[in-house]
């Protein structure tokens, strides 16, 4: 084993676990030493192709026996808490898929634990690593559209377009399933990233359309004490979207900006000579802000995010774009949404 490499264990080998394995295995300073999953079939397939890999059905054994420097957690969210706590006790760096936990108190406890340690801790809100959204944030931070007054955040996908049986973990809110935890958490996190944590939440309405036990659509209003207000609308049952789509529109005192994965448009009430922006509409595409990613699998965001985690451990990067303390903000907002919401059964 190469002593200069970080040893990583992956816990949970579903869609994201598989993606993370592929991405981080491309990093020259990483060695994946172990994988844990409840599916013995998955583990035996992995073992068949990689004889040196240690495989476990118990995450505790993975941590104790394969002694990774860091773990990547991609289990259903209700398992995040015990796994992260165990990793903390053993001094292991943690990257964990979103949402952080399926319960605000657990997220608070874990955040406090890691705040008093030197362990790198990160939650997989990958949208923070998108080139276009980061450019939009930069422009908003520079006050190019003046003071932000209103925003509108939307996300769509065609993930659930048929009645579900209710057996999958995704169909259970206590497990962290449902459109609020799984999908709207991305948007809420993005709002936290752009504007900080909202002070209040109002008018949360959830629709149950196809899922047996959880919501498929949600809308809500986020309110800041400084006067900024925004609405969110998230729908994972919209068949008109071939691929997941995220868009954020921000109205400010000097103009507005509309950003999605593909590009951004700025409308300005006055020309901005410094940034070479016209009065009126200015359109830019992903290609205008694109930064190459070291290894491309399913979008650069996932790679940039996981490489950020590894570079933080190696000491090559200092800025953690989404540590536990950041992700806790989203847990608090979701908690507020759940406390006061109306559910409609369609």
């Amino acid at each position: 084993m190469d002593k200069n490499k970080i040893k990583i264990g992956i816990i949970g080998f579903g869609r994201m676990g598989i993606t993370h394995y592929s991405i981080i295995n491309s990093h020259p300073n990483v060695e994946i030493v172990s994988v844990a999953d409840t599916s013995k079939t998955i583990l035996s397939i992995l073992k068949k192709f990689n004889k040196e890999l240690n495989v476990y059905t118990d995450y505790k054994e993975l941590i104790d026996e394969s002694k990774p420097d860091a773990i990547i957690i991609s289990t259903p969210p209700n398992l995040h808490y015990p796994i992260i706590k165990y990793a903390y006790e053993r001094g292991v760096h943690v990257f964990c898929e979103k949402p952080f936990t399926a319960n605000k108190q657990q997220a608070e406890e874990l955040t406090n634990l890691f705040a008093n340690s030197n362990l790198v801790n990160q939650i997989g809100f990958a949208a923070r690593y998108g080139d276009v959204l980061n450019k939009a944030k930069e422009l908003i931070d520079q006050k190019v559209i003046g003071d932000a007054i209103r925003f509108k955040g939307e996300m769509f996908s065609c993930a659930i377009i048929k009645k579900t049986s209710g057996t999958n973990w995704r169909d259970n809110e206590e497990n962290g399933g449902g459109v609020v935890y799984e999908m709207s958490s991305h948007m809420i996190d993005l709002i936290n990233y752009f504007f900080g944590e909202p002070d209040n939440v109002a008018g949360t309405v959830r629709n149950k359309v196809f899922s047996k036990n959880v919501d498929d659509l949600v809308s809500t209003t986020l309110i800041y004490n400084n006067g900024l207000v925004g609405t969110l609308y998230i729908n994972w049952s919209d068949e008109s979207y071939r691929k997941p789509m995220i868009s954020l529109e921000v109205f400010g005192s000097k103009g507005k900006i509309i950003a999605d994965f593909y590009g951004y448009k700025i409308f300005l009430s006055k020309e901005n000579k410094e940034l070479n922006l016209r009065k009126g509409w200015n359109t830019f595409y992903l290609t205008d802000v694109y930064k190459p990613t070291p290894f491309y699998v399913r979008g650069g965001e996932f790679t940039n995010q996981l490489y950020n985690f590894v570079e933080l451990i190696l000491g090559n990067q200092k800025t953690n774009l989404c540590d536990f303390a950041e992700a806790l903000k989203t847990e608090r907002i979701i908690d507020l949404m759940f406390k006061n919401s109306i559910t409609i059964n369609n």
């Binding site: 579903g14 869609r15 592929s22 993930a159 992903l286 290609t287 190459p292 990613t293 290894f295």
Partner: protein, 292 residues
């Protein structure tokens, strides 16, 4: 290695795929709602001298393949470059059901009755003995089935799958894929990747040759990982007898004007270009610029 066509006509425009704009994608999907409109564009492309078509194995490709089979006499000298699978179908079913139920559904639904029986006979042993290679071969067969009877030149593995597997770094999977395509279908194996330097380096390390590699290649380095300089270096030093290279995304989703884009492409050591367009003007222009 059999030489591939220098110009290949792609299919993104037909399936509401546009990497630059959701609105443009929507407009294209309406324009090509009527499948006859797709055939009309193919006819324009063929009139412009196109002799090769790349087509992803999505639902609509089934009807497209049917049409070309039925009109074989009219289209007898076309070469086909299927890419498999259609990844969004897999991604959605996997999220909903988990990996194994998803594979089960993909293999055993949407097949004719006789096909299903044969596949189940093979499939039960494949799944229960955890014979992944066999399973992979069955998935390939299920995807390639719609292209049967067409003159296939290369079978490409779609980039999400190629790149995911490249990251895993498992030599055997690539060896088995390539040999299965060569031996069963008697065509050249192809890999679509957004990590061309990584891909070629790995294939060399594994001594896997005679592969067509299709990758984004454009003047501004868009979706070229890790960076354009690495691409230029590996392309310059590439031996086309080992790996034929096909460029895609040459216009970087429209960010580069065609003249500039193809001037760059024509100066690279590559064997082929795949492009998509939906108007006569753009198809003619592209063919003219690529021929230099």
């Amino acid at each position: 290695m059999n030489q591939i066509d220098k110009i290949v006509f792609g299919d993104n425009q037909f399936f509401g795929i546009n990497h630059m704009s959701q609105e443009k994608a929507q407009q294209l999907s309406e324009q090509f709602y009527k499948i006859q409109n797709i055939f009309n564009v193919y006819d324009i492309a063929i009139d412009c001298g196109i002799k090769a078509i790349m087509l992803n194995s999505n639902q609509r490709a089934i009807d497209i393949c049917d049409y070309f089979r039925k009109n074989e006499s009219k289209y007898s000298d076309l070469n086909w470059y299927p890419s498999i699978p259609y990844p969004h179908k897999y991604a959605n079913i996997i999220s909903e059901k988990g990996i194994f139920p998803a594979i089960n559904e993909l293999l055993f639904s949407n097949n004719t009755a006789s096909g299903v029986l044969g596949m189940i006979a093979k499939g039960s042993s494949a799944i229960f003995t955890k014979d992944v290679i066999k399973l992979m071969q069955m998935l390939i067969d299920a995807e390639v089935k719609m292209f049967k009877g067409l003159n296939i030149k290369v079978i490409f593995l779609q980039n999400v799958v190629t790149d995911l597997l490249l990251g895993f770094g498992i030599k055997e999977v690539f060896e088995e894929y390539c040999s299965y395509i060569e031996n069963k279908y008697k065509v050249i194996p192809g890999l679509i990747t957004l990590n061309l330097p990584y891909c070629i380096t790995k294939l060399k390390e594994w001594n896997i040759k005679n592969v067509v590699i299709c990758s984004s290649i454009n003047k501004i380095g868009f979706t070229m990982s890790p960076n354009i300089a690495s691409y230029e270096e590996i392309i310059l030093n590439n031996n086309p007898n080992e790996y034929q290279i096909m460029a895609m995304s040459t216009l970087a989703s429209g960010a580069i004007p065609p003249i500039e884009a193809y001037e760059y492409i024509n100066n690279q050591n590559i064997q082929s270009v795949v492009f998509g367009a939906s108007s006569k003007k753009h198809i003619e222009e592209t063919v003219r610029l690529l021929k230099g």
